[in-house]
């Protein structure tokens, strides 16, 4: 078994093990064990990759190619570069933190953890595959459990939210499938066989007309998951209804599939399409950046605030990808990671506040800093990280994006860049609004004075997420350089 396939196999083994467990205690123990092993594997992969990278110049390392359907030339083709390694690490950390945060899932615990791990399997598979068909398959595996997780374990109008989310994502998948088939049927443009292999397609000069036609399909197909304006509306409702761990995993990991897919498929395989269409999607993504931030100012539900904040932050990822240069792309990947940790942390904290106060309405909360200091202090830190304070990962990512965006000299790029940069002010407004209303100020409700403190599993989950945020923020160089190096081959196409 190779080092990468394990990432898909292990969750499946854990799922099988989970089937034989009884009750919450056993289920969560197995889930925790499995997640810890995954994290260990991810860390191991990181070091193995760093070692391999210094001696191996190929774009993807640890590759493995198994023919799956010979007639259609579908392969189980896997491999990683610095970008996927970083995202795999992100996933494993968030899954583990999610298991800790779901420590007290009394309702169908076995089924809950099984769905969570199915989702994780899909995500890992997506990040390691370098064959379009396999990639799409894993993509669907990752998206579908969402319906069950929200529909069964959710709260509020959960059926509605689950349905909305699934329908919108499925609609996007349809576009994506058409786009992928479009690439597939043009992959013989240079006389070779039809292929789904990303590396092989990248060598082919896909006709300009086809690129122009299929780029927007693939871009939108992936970007709906990345909360591209105006296709973001599934996200606030979906998050609001989802249980905590699902929100964490969804916003932290699943939404990253969007940007990653855009980068790997749309940008890499259809570079001329990207050049042709970039202006249009830049407008949409820049709108999303500023629009999400302004919309967040008016929300009162913590989860909605965070969902709109995600629209803004992930808008920045798409925006950066469309800037078509190394620095901005580096920023996009870093922002994906940074947002993953931050938003998962936010959802974890929101869940902790909700289980204690039974409300997510900030106007009903107040003075929490006095009552539950640990949770509140971490919330303040997460907020500061989210508004791009130096010393946290968000700053590193945003500065890469802004500096990268500023490398484009024409007036259009200048204007949209400045608009996007202005989001740093609006972000400060909505973050400090929450901090001011909810955490500071006098304690609003007498009954809050006796709220229980954070438990060990909550603390562990939260610190697990905070650590990389600070780590990346304080010492970004190794990560940033690792990603930069992996970006190099992808850059050739657009230049």
């Amino acid at each position: 078994m190779d080092i990468l396939s394990l990432f898909v196999v292990l969750p499946v083994l854990v799922i099988i093990a989970l089937v034989f467990t009884k009750g919450l205690k056993q289920a969560r123990q197995i889930a925790m064990l499995g997640s810890i092993i995954q994290l260990g594997m991810a860390i191991n992969l990181l070091f193995a990759y760093l070692k391999e990278q210094s001696i191996n110049d190929s774009i993807f390392v640890f590759t493995r190619d198994i023919v799956w359907f010979e007639e259609l030339n579908i392969h189980y083709n896997i491999g990683v570069d610095g970008i996927s390694v970083a995202l795999i690490l992100l996933t494993s950390i968030i899954v583990l933190a999610g298991v800790f945060i779901s420590w007290k899932t009394y309702d169908l615990p076995k089924e809950f953890f099984v769905s969570l791990l199915v989702l994780a399997t899909g995500v890992y598979g997506f990040f390691i595959s370098i064959d379009l068909f396999t990639m799409f398959l894993f993509y669907e595996i990752a998206v579908i459990p969402m319906y069950l997780l929200i529909g069964i374990w959710g709260s509020g109008p959960k059926e509605y939210s689950a349905m909305k989310l699934t329908l919108m994502l499925m609609g996007a998948s349809a576009l994506l499938l058409v786009g992928i088939l479009g690439i597939y049927f043009n992959s013989n443009a240079d006389g070779g066989p039809l292929t789904f292999s990303i590396l092989e397609i990248a060598q082919v000069n896909i006709p300009f007309e086809a690129q122009k036609l299929f780029f927007p399909l693939i871009f939108i197909g992936f970007a709906v998951l990345g909360a591209l304006f105006p296709f973001h509306t599934w996200s606030p409702d979906g998050h609001a209804s989802a249980p905590t761990a699902v929100s964490m995993l969804h916003a932290g990991v699943l939404m990253k599939l969007g940007g990653y897919g855009v980068f790997r498929v749309a940008m890499f395989l259809l570079p001329q399409g990207a050049l042709e269409w970039s202006w249009f999607f830049i407008i949409l993504s820049a709108t999303g950046v500023i629009y999400g931030a302004f919309a967040a100012i008016r929300q009162t539900d913590l989860k909605y605030i965070n969902a709109y904040s995600s629209v803004s932050h992930l808008g920045l990822v798409l925006f950066a990808l469309l800037m078509l240069n190394k620095t901005a792309w580096n920023g996009a990947i870093l922002q994906s990671l940074s947002h993953g940790f931050m938003t998962a942390l936010f959802f974890a904290l929101i869940g902790m506040i909700y289980t204690r106060t039974n409300t997510r309405d900030i106007t009903k909360l107040g003075g929490l800093l006095k009552v539950i200091p640990f949770i509140s202090v971490i919330y303040v830190i997460a907020g500061l990280a989210s508004l791009g304070l130096p010393g946290f990962s968000g700053f590193v990512a945003e500065m890469n994006i802004f500096v990268g965006a500023f490398q484009n000299e024409d007036m259009f790029h200048r204007v949209v860049t400045i608009i996007s940069v202005s989001a740093i002010v609006v972000t400060a407004v909505y973050i400090l609004r929450v901090v001011g209303i909810m955490l500071m100020g006098p304690v609003k409700n007498e009954s809050y004075l006796s709220l229980p403190k954070a438990t060990w599993y909550e603390t562990t989950g939260v610190l697990l997420l905070l650590l990389p945020i600070v780590g990346i923020g304080v010492a970004p160089l190794w990560l940033s350089d690792m990603i930069l190096k992996s970006l190099q081959p992808f850059l050739q196409g657009v230049l």
Partner: protein, 639 residues
Amino acid sequence: MNISYLFLIPLIPLAVFLVLGIFNKKIKPAISGWIGVAGLAASTILSFYGAFQYFFVTGKLDGAYQTFTEKTVWLNFTDSLHIDLGILIDPISIMMLIVVSTISLMVHIYSRGYMKGDPGYTKFFAFLSLFTFSMYGLVLATNLFQIYIFWELVGVSSFLLIGYYYTKNSAVAAAKKAFIVTRFADFGFLIGILIIGFYTGTWDFETLNNPEGAAIANWASTSFMGLSVLTWALILIFMGGAGKSAMFPLHIWLPDAMEGPTPVSALIHAATMVVAGVYLVARLFPMYYFVEEGYVLNIVAYVGAFSSLFAAIIAITQTDIKRVLAFSTMSQIGYMMMALGVSGFDGHEGVGYMASMFHLFTHAMFKALLFLGAGSVIHAVHSNYLKDMGGLRKHMPITNITFLIAALAIAGVPPLAGFWSKDEILVAAYENSQFLYSIGILVAGLTAFYMFRLYFGIFWGKETTYAHKPKESPRSMTIPLVILAIFSVVVGFIPFSEYVTADKLGFVAHLNYPLAATAVLIGLIGIILAWIFYKKENDLAERFARAFGVFYLWASNKFYFDELYLFITRKLIFKRISAPIAYFDKKFVDGTMEGIGNKTLVVANKIKGIQSGKVQDYAFGFISGIVVLTIVFIYLWTN
């Protein structure tokens, strides 16, 4: 010169912050106070040692002070652009080290008394250390991006300390306001940094500031709307500086920032962080001076002069003693900005630059003293308002004397520190523009007046009936007062022009007797007027206020700038932008998606009859399909 040991200066407070922050609950307050003081004392000793080494032993080469740097790459952007972290040693960074160390140490010692018994004692010292660390990082920065990083960090420390009494709504609002207003200014700053990076290919101060270097030499190569792009960048960077330094019209956060504990006001909002804007312009002074023949310096000078006058007028009307001091700070920083704005570069022409730095230095001493004195008074009478004070000189002799020294210093009475630095500023203004000079002289008079209005109001006048008999503050608070008072007397005698100049060569400054005499005379007139108005209880002041009518009302309401900003944020941004966007999102964007979903249902309902289950219907559909397809294929083939 070996400068590696100077890295310890910022790192010690950082370590203190981490220790106090992480073990917040486990450390006894008495111990955490000492940890804070000890850490800062170590940094202070290193700063003074470094200053001595630099100025008197190894800093000079061929008569010019050298720049020493040591740095490491922190983050790579492009092949040429990267962020370095490191330290840069030159006259102004060393001078700032002395200012930050001295004031911060005094404030640390003072806070042990002032914050005694506060439930967040340890947290308070942790925040103070965080701030001091960030401020050291800012002044030692080797490049624009590093300064921006620490710029944000001092901003957030300021936020945390203003909001220290976080259960008080006014403190929370003030903290938010300070952060958001400065963030808005930093938005400009960041764009300025991006422009500089793109057009010069570096953020390194040494490279940028080299008068013969490419950055300055090629300033005219790219222009935008009639000005060099670098001019735009410098304007935007100045916007960042104006935000931090509370220059008009970005000043509105500073008076509210007085919600923080008084030692914080002394440290952050009087002596160190608020002068960061002045420091920033001084740091980039060669660029400001050479790019577009000093175009931006004119803006700096006029913004500074206007803020200075504007704040001095408001200061006269305020009744909260800390707010008087806040406006006074704004006014004095305006002075420094004006001096920088009128400065030349070589030799004696650079007197404005020297005067600005000199005034920054002396002002830090006496303004910190004023704040700490005010804190001592507030500590004794439990109120910030002048109406609750009066006749305190008998109860608080040390506070009284030290406050008087500081007030005389800021009023420019010789031979106290403020006299020397203010005189240089007025000389610089006089040599450049009569108009700016007259504003400077007017502000000098106003300063003397409002400061002695404050002094007489607190320590003289009718004795208020106090609930608790006020008594002198404990020794931990009075010792820093005395030390700062000594500094306020002596630091004026430092021959600053030999050490800190724009061209780093040094020159000999002479007192300009006619100008000095005029300034002193104006100051004395201000003091005497205050004496007449406020020494004894009388209604003269009130009658005057009434005579000024509307103007007085405007000034006491700070010319309604708070209301203007509230209108912009609440009414325009919240109501006219944010709310419509949230509504639009719910109704239209989401509505469209819902609409598609609902339409699908409707269509599905309409067409579900097709799936009738009758074989005849299916056969009909099947045959129709074939017919249609055949037609299509025939059509395609024939074309």
